[in-house]
Structure formats: C-alpha cells, structure tokens
C-alpha cells in the first residue's frame, strides 16, 4: 500500500465499523471512540502538514458536537466521509482525483448542515449551499475539462487560461472569496455550530491545500488579485456591525481567505498562517460549544478574537507579518496596502465583539 492508502485506510475502516455499529449496537460513546481512533490512526500515518491540520480539526469538531449535544453515529460517519474527501483533495495528483475529492468533501456537508431536520433554518441553509455549491462545481468541472483538453494531460497544471479562471470560480466559491462570498454568512449562521466549525476549518484547509499544488500564472494573477482585494475589504467591512457570532465568523473568514490568497499570489508562507488561523478558530468554536458565558469561556473567546484581529504576539499576527514581509519585498504594493488597510478596518468589528463577549451577552 502506498503512504496515501495507509492514510485513508483507517478512516475508511472506521466508516465501515461505524455503519455496522449503527446497524447493530448504537452507542454514542462507542461511536465516539471508533471515529476518534480511526482519525488518530490516520494522523499517525500522516506526513503532510495539511493532513495533520485536517485530522486535528476533524477530531476537534467531533468533540465539539459531543459537547453541544450528544451526536449519533450518522453524524460521525458524515464527518469521516468528508474528511476522507479532504485528504483525497490534498493528495490528488490529477484533475479527476481532485474533482472526486472535492465532491466527497462537499456532499456530506449538505447532510451535516441539515442535520437537525426539524429546524427549518438548517434545511434552508442546506438547500442554499446545495444549489450554490452544485452550480460552482459545474464551473469547476468545466474548467477542469478545458485544463485537460488544451494540454491534453490530467496533471495539475494551469495550462489553459479559460480553464484556470473557471477552476478558480469553483475554488473561490468553496473558499468564500468575494464575489462568491454571498452564501457564507447565511450558511454559517444557520448551520449547527459544530458543522460551522467543520466548514470553517476542514473544508477551507482542504481547498487551500489544493491551491498550493499549483502556482499562479500570468492569466489568473490579475483576476485573483482583484478577488483577494475584494475579499479582504468586503470581509472586513461586513464584520463591522455584525452581532451574530457565527455570521461574524463567516464574514471574518472571507477576509482571512483573502489574506491567504495574497500569501499564495506573492509566494508567502501559507502554512504558518493557516495553522495559526485553524488553531484560533478551533479555540473559538470550542469555547462556543462549551460555555461561552462562563468566565473561562469568555476569556478563551477574547483571546481567540484578539488573535483573529491580528494583535501582535498572538499567533495570527506572526502569520500576517510573514505574508506582509513577502508582499513588501516582492513589491506587490496594492495587495500589501489593502492587506494592511483591511486589517485596520477589521479591528473595529473584533473590538466590538470582544466588548460584547465581555458584557456576557453572547448569542452563539
């Protein structure tokens, strides 16, 4: 077996066992043990930075779900399936595998968003995500077709300008980059909290992992620069007056994905930023699922939001700092300027939220 197969095997096995267990002996505790065990085993085989981030996030999301309300086997199966898709995305070396990976990542998420079937908001969010993600997947597939057709190879190369632009429509949608960001707020707000956590971490990491497989080309750079600039500004502005915590995180993710896109465009250090961002988000979702109104909970939230704000010495600051240094030395002045400017605007929104957290009026 190849290393990649070793990585996926424990999760696939875990899914099978969970299916059997769901059929014959339902038990929340056993299913928790099985799912965590399979993820941890997979983590043991993982040798890739992105693998590790994804697996850590998946385990964390399963725990959050258990903290919030006991979760059933099916929930875990869907999470494991989606994780499987995310790992496939990262390890695929051709467009075919990549498409399968992305769809495997996305399909279980529809189910996860609509998890609480009695809640009409969940259903609404799921349908929105289904239709929009389906539409964007169509563009993705068309883009891949062009990318295959022109050079005649399935290898991950941006040979065709048309194809790459369509491909980035699909990826941009999943990363909720402006102008494809409209779904983010609604879905983040209406999905169950652990699922929002999953969307915000695993699904983003996987797509960023795909991004780093290719290098920016002449054809896509101007369009993607525009997308990055729009995302940073739109994300920061949308957070300004946002009261709802989940929706706020959605908007802030737009800005942060813009920052990551900048890192990709200027050739900066994406890995550190992504790790810092993921860890911060996991902290925030942990606190939200656990007890956001307790003293420790609000302290953790404040810490998390300060990090998201980019306050010096906190993790995300160093990520931003490295990206800015690269942008500066490679003379991408527009990206640099908007990066700094949007971080500045964002501070207001975070500060407001921190004040609200401290005033113990959190609506998770």
């Amino acid at each position: 077996m190849t290393a990649f197969e070793w990585l996926l095997a424990p999760i696939a096995l875990g899914i099978t066992v969970l299916l059997l267990q769901a059929a014959f002996a339902r038990s929340n505790r056993a299913s928790l043990a099985i799912s965590v065990l399979s993820l941890v085993t997979s983590y043991y085989w993982g040798h890739n930075y992105f693998d590790q981030l994804i697996l850590i996030s998946s385990v964390a999301v399963i725990f959050f779900a258990c903290l919030k309300e006991g979760s059933s086997e099916e929930f875990k199966i869907l999470i494991l399936l989606s994780t499987l898709g995310a790992l496939t995305c990262i390890h695929s070396d051709n467009w075919m595998n990549l498409f399968v990976g992305i769809e495997l990542l996305t399909l279980p998420i529809y189910g996860l968003i609509a998890w609480d079937a009695h809640n009409s908001k969940n259903i609404q969010a799921a349908i929105k995500y289904l239709v929009l993600a389906g539409g964007s997947s169509a563009f993705l597939l068309l883009g891949m077709a062009f990318l295959y057709a022109e050079p005649g190879s399935m290898a991950l190369q941006l040979g065709s300008a048309k194809g790459s632009l369509l491909l980035f429509v699909g990826i941009g949608f999943k990363l909720s980059l402006a102008p494809f960001h409209l779904w983010t707020g609604d879905v983040y707000e209406d999905a169950p909290l652990p699922v929002t956590g999953f969307l915000a971490t695993v699904s983003k990491i996987a797509l960023v992992g795909v991004l780093v497989h290719v290098n920016p080309t002449q054809a896509v750079t101007p369009v993607l620069s525009a997308m990055a600039i729009l995302s940073m500004i739109a994300g920061s502005l949308l957070t300004l007056r946002q009261q709802n915590m989940s929706r706020f995180l959605g908007y802030s993710s737009i800005a942060h994905m813009g920052y990551i896109l900048v890192a990709w465009l200027v050739g900066g250090n994406i890995g550190f930023y992504l790790a810092a961002y993921t860890v911060t988000l996991l902290l925030i979702f942990w606190m939200l699922s656990w007890n956001p109104e307790s003293k420790a909970g609000s302290l953790g939230l404040v810490f998390g939001f300060l990090s998201l704000m980019g306050l010096p010495i906190l993790p995300i600051f160093w990520g931003k700092y490295q990206i800015l240094l690269t942008a500066f030395s490679s003379e991408h002045w527009w990206l640099f300027g908007v990066f700094v400017f949007s971080s500045l605007i964002g501070v207001y929104g975070y500060a407001r939220l921190i004040a609200r957290v401290c005033l113990r009026s959190v609506q998770a």
Partner: protein, 607 residues
C-alpha cells in the same frame, strides 16, 4: 562580572522587595534594602581599590556583558550596541559617592520610615534608583547611559510621589517627571547627532572620533554639545528647567537627600564631564554652560533667601551649588567640578538628613515659622546644621566646602573661558550662600527665635536613635574632611580634556570670597520671615502654560477628527452596501454567481 555586580545587587534586591515585599516583616524589608545598597558599596570599594591601587598608570577598565542591539549590516558593524560597563577615575569618583552616600541614607531611612505602611515598596524604589544611577555612572555607551538616565527619572518620580494619598505629591512628581523629560529629549537628540556622525554610540570611541574629525568651533560640535547641555540642565535643575526641584521636596526627606541633593541631580554635571571633549570643541557651548551655571547660582541663591520652608531653602541651595559646578564645567575646570560634586554630596546629604530628623521629630513640619529654638532641645541637630551650613558657606580651612569652592573660583578666574566677571558672580554667590545659610541657622537656633511662636511640638516618645545618629556622624566628619582628599587630582587621571592643572589656589581671591561669605552670614541673621514669596512658577504659567491651554481649548473640537469621521462614514456606507447584498434569497445569490462568472470570463475575452 566585577563591575556588573555593583548595579546588579540593588536591582535584584529591588525586584525581591517589589515582588515579595508584603510577605516580609517591615524590619526585614528595610534591612534587606540596606543590604542591597551596602553590598553594592562594598563591591564598588573592592573593585576601585583593586583596580586603582594595582598599577600606577591604570587608566580604564571595560566590561562587556552581552550584545544588546546587534547590527548585521556590514557598513554598520561598529554600530552594534553592547551592554557594557566602563570604569575610569571619573566614574570611580561618582561610583564611590553614589554607593557610599546611598548606603548611609538607606540606614537613616530605616529609622525615618519605621512607621510607614509601605516600607518594602520604599526600599524597592530606593534600590532601583541606586541600581539605575550606577548603570548611568558606569555606562560604556550612550544607550546604556540613557537607560540609567531614564531609570533614575522614573524612580525619582515614584519617590517624590511616594505618599500618594496627597494629590499635591502626585502633581509634584508629575511636574518633575515632565520637566526633566524636556531635557531628556534634548539628550536623545544629542545621542542621535553623535550616532549619525560616527555610526557608533560607544562613549570613548565617540570622543576620540570627535576630537579627530570635528574642528574647533564647528557647527555640529556646538549643536551636539548644546543638546547634551539641554539634558544636563533638565536633570540638574538649572535655568530654565529648574522649577521641578523645589516641588520635588514633597517626597520623603531621605529621598530628597539622596536623589534631589547628593546623587541624581549631579548626573548632569557627570554627563558634561563625561563628554567634556565635545564641549572643549565648542567655545560657544562651553560659554553657555558657564553662563547657565552663573545665572542659576545667583537666581537660586536669591530664591533660597526668600523661602520660609526648610527643605525648599535646601533645594534652592542645591540648585545654586550645582550652578557652581556648571560654572566650573563651562570654564573647563572639570576636576574642580567633580571635587565640588563630591564634597557637596556629603554636606548636602548631611543637611537634608538633619532636616529629616526635624521632620521625624515634628510630624513632617518643615516651616521655619513653626520650628525654632532647637539649640538646647536637640544638640545633635544643632551640630549637624553647624557643620553642614559651615561647609556650605565654605568656612575657611576646616570645612570641605571651602577647598572645593575655592578651587572652582580660582580656576574660573584663571581659565581662558572665565575671567574676572564669572569669578565676581561666583564670589557674589558666596555672599548669597552665606546669607541664606546664616538666616536658616538663625531661624532654627536663635535663643528666643525670630518668630514669636514655636507652635510645633516634638512628637512624644521619639528620639534620635542609632540608625539616625550613625549616618549623621559619618557625614558630619566627611563634611569636614573630604576637602583634604585628593579627589580633584584623582579625577584628573581620566583625561578631562581642556586641562587646567588643578590645585591652583590664589590666596588673595580666596580671602575676598571667604570674607564675602562671612559677611553674608552676618547679613543673613538680620533677614526675617517673608510674608510673600516670588513665584517662578507664575512666570512659566504665563509664558508656557497659558498659551498651551489656549491652543488646547481651541483644538478641543479636534478639526483633524473630521478626517477620521469621513473615514468612518465611508466604511459605514460601504458596509451598508455590502450588507444589502446579503439578501438571504437563493435566487439573488445564484444570479450574483452567474454575473461574477460572466464578468471574469468577459475580462478574459477583452484582455
């Protein structure tokens, strides 16, 4: 390590006291505080004796601890700033003065502060002060010097406002802090000038380079020297930044003795002596030093004559004596200035501790209208003030002040910069010194007292214990004998650039000055209590504070804020637009998706 341990000891003790002080008993805390400073004195004494008796031609010892700020650029590798200490004869004199006087004052403080609730915090601040002062004195480069310089400023602030329940103390502390900050900015500019000229901050290297590269009278030398003078003027309370010192007397009296008489305020004198080479390159700056000193010594002498508060008289006297030192520095008589610095530290510390005893006995009452007739009640105070004021007035032959002050006057007269006029001002200053000293002495000890009522009563059950008696006796002896020590010639071992051969006494002039001093005492005994006092603060209020607050009032509406308002409005507007796009309708979102794709592909087609 030998040098580093001297400032390190008090700083460690300070940290201990600040962190765990409330767990120690008062007695333990205060003696720990004494121990920190005392051990530092022992270490300093050991180092100085070891180095300077070791070989006759010993010049200087440098100790590099670690690289503080590295510069990796190849052109600026000399600019790397080391955490390093430097000991030569000049810093050795300062080192001994600072550690020794501090130890005595620390012992005195044990008794003085015995009833205070925050003894450990007091000693923490005091130890921190001593540590910072030693860093200043031992600094090998300007940045380390600046660290010490700001450190003593901070501790001075903390200690002036030590009794923080009274808002007036807080105001006095703030005033001292801000006023000296003005000088500090000047000093910083001086350091910038030096760095931009030579690319190094090491003091000795800078002095060598300046001597080699700057012509005498050049603009850059004058500018740099004037910037350093600005720093020295702030710290040493010379005109025009002198106002803070009199208010600083609101702090505990040992603090006034230590920081605002014996050590910190002499930092300005030390700084000018340290960078004497630069001043020697600029006749204008040297003249400025001299005239600042001359003006201050007369102004402060007159002000001292007009005060009714014991500690304020001593504060103005300190300013005036510092003026003498500046006079000597400006005339190029560096060793004489350092000599006077040492003797002044002894007798002024003695006088302040004497005042401390009075404050201890009389509920911190220092007004001369309320205290008098102490002659037979407290003979120790009488002797303390007799010796201290005698040394201050430079009573001939037996007091230390005589030798240092006469050395200053003679050298000022002989110097190329100086001459008859500066000498005459110095001699007039001697008259004033005599006058305010005589008046002070008379008011304190005259048999019936000039004031009719002596309303303050000594506190019950308080007496002068050993902790107070010992430092007072030692300082009294030193006030009489330091004059015989060869401090001036010792300090001269550090080549203090424009050398006058020291020990030039001109007996005729000395006799005139002495007679003037004694005449002053006679005048002083006739001067009464004043009803009103001239206010320097009012002058500053009119010139600086009023226009400043007028401008502030005008700026209150903050015109510049409109720019930020615009920014906020724009952000709000765009946020509104973007938020309107979040309709929540799936059909809108799909439309937006398709439009975005069309735009992107359209861009592709037309580019």
């Amino acid at each position: 390590m030998q040098l580093a341990i001297i400032p390190a000891l008090p700083i460690i003790v300070s940290a201990l006291l600040a962190l765990f002080g409330d767990r120690f008993s008062k007695k333990l805390a205060s003696w720990l505080g004494v121990l920190g400073i005392g051990l530092s004195f022992v270490a300093a004494l050991g180092v100085v004796l070891f180095l300077f008796t070791g070989s006759k031609d010993f010049q200087a010892y440098r100790e590099i601890l670690w690289t503080w700020i590295p510069f990796y650029s190849s052109e600026l590798d000399t600019a790397t700033i080391q955490m390093a200490f430097y000991l030569d004869a000049l810093s050795a004199v300062m080192l001994m003065v600072v550690t020794f006087i501090s130890s005595l004052i620390a012992i005195f403080s044990v008794a003085f502060m015995e009833d205070d609730a925050e003894v450990s915090w007091f000693f923490a601040c005091m130890n921190l002060f001593v540590g910072m002062m030693l860093i200043l004195v031992l600094a090998d480069n300007f940045l380390v010097l600046f660290l010490g310089w700001e450190g003593v400023g901070l501790t001075s602030y903390l200690l002036i406002g030590f009794w923080r329940n009274d808002i007036l103390n807080g105001r006095a502390a703030t005033k001292a802090f801000i006023t000296t900050r003005i000088g500090d900015v000047c000093l910083l500019f001086g350091i910038f000038l030096v760095f931009s000229s030579f690319g190094t901050l090491n003091i000795q290297e800078v002095l060598d380079l300046a001597d080699a590269n700057w012509p005498v009278g050049s603009l850059i030398a004058t500018l740099t020297a004037l910037c350093f003078l600005g720093g020295a003027v702030g710290k040493s309370a010379q005109l025009p930044l002198q106002t803070w010192l009199a208010d600083a007397m609101r702090g505990p009296t040992p603090v006034s003795a230590l920081i605002h008489a014996a050590t910190m305020v002499t930092a300005g004198v030390y700084l000018i002596a340290r960078v004497g080479t630069i001043f020697a390159l600029s006749p204008i700056a040297s003249a400025a030093v001299m005239w600042v000193g001359a003006a201050t010594l007369v102004m402060a002498g007159i002000a001292a004559l007009l005060q009714n508060d014991l500690k304020r008289i001593l504060a103005y006297s300190t300013m005036s004596q510092l003026g003498y030192m500046f006079l000597a520095l400006g005339a190029g008589a560096y060793s004489a200035a350092i000599f006077h610095l040492a003797t002044h530290a002894c007798f002024k510390a003695l006088l302040f501790l004497g005042a401390g005893v009075i404050g201890y006995l009389f509920h911190h009452e220092y007004s001369l209208t309320k205290i008098s007739n102490l002659r037979y009640q407290f003979p120790l105070i009488f002797w303390v003030f007799l010796i201290g004021l005698g040394s201050l007035t430079a009573l001939p032959l037996i007091t230390a002040g005589f030798y240092s002050k006469e050395l200053i006057l003679s050298e000022v007269f002989l110097s190329k910069q100086g001459g008859l006029l500066p000498w005459a001002i110095g001699a007039f200053g001697a008259l004033l010194t005599g006058a305010y000293s005589g008046r002070l002495f008379w008011l304190l000890f005259a048999p019936s007292g000039l004031s009719a009522v002596a309303s303050a009563k000594a506190e019950e059950g308080r007496s002068i214990g050993r902790c107070m008696g010992l430092p007072l006796s030692i300082l009294a002896i030193l006030s009489l004998t330091t004059g015989f020590l060869p401090i001036a010639s010792f300090a001269n071992r550090t080549v203090l650039a424009p050398v006058l051969t020291s020990e030039n006494h001109i007996w005729k002039l000395e006799i005139i000055a002495t007679v003037l001093g004694i005449l002053g005492i006679l005048i002083g005994t006739r001067v009464k209590i004043w009803k009103t006092m001239p206010q320097f603060d009012a002058l500053y209020e009119g010139i600086f504070t009023k226009p400043y607050s007028t401008i502030s009032l005008f700026m209150r509406a903050d015109p510049i804020r409109a720019v930020y308002r615009l920014f906020v409005l724009l952000a709000g507007f765009f946020q509104y637009l973007l938020a309107r796009l979040q309709t929540g309708h799936l059909s809108h979102y799909v439309t937006a998706l398709v439009i975005a794709v069309i735009l992107i592909l359209g861009y592709r087609m037309f580019s």
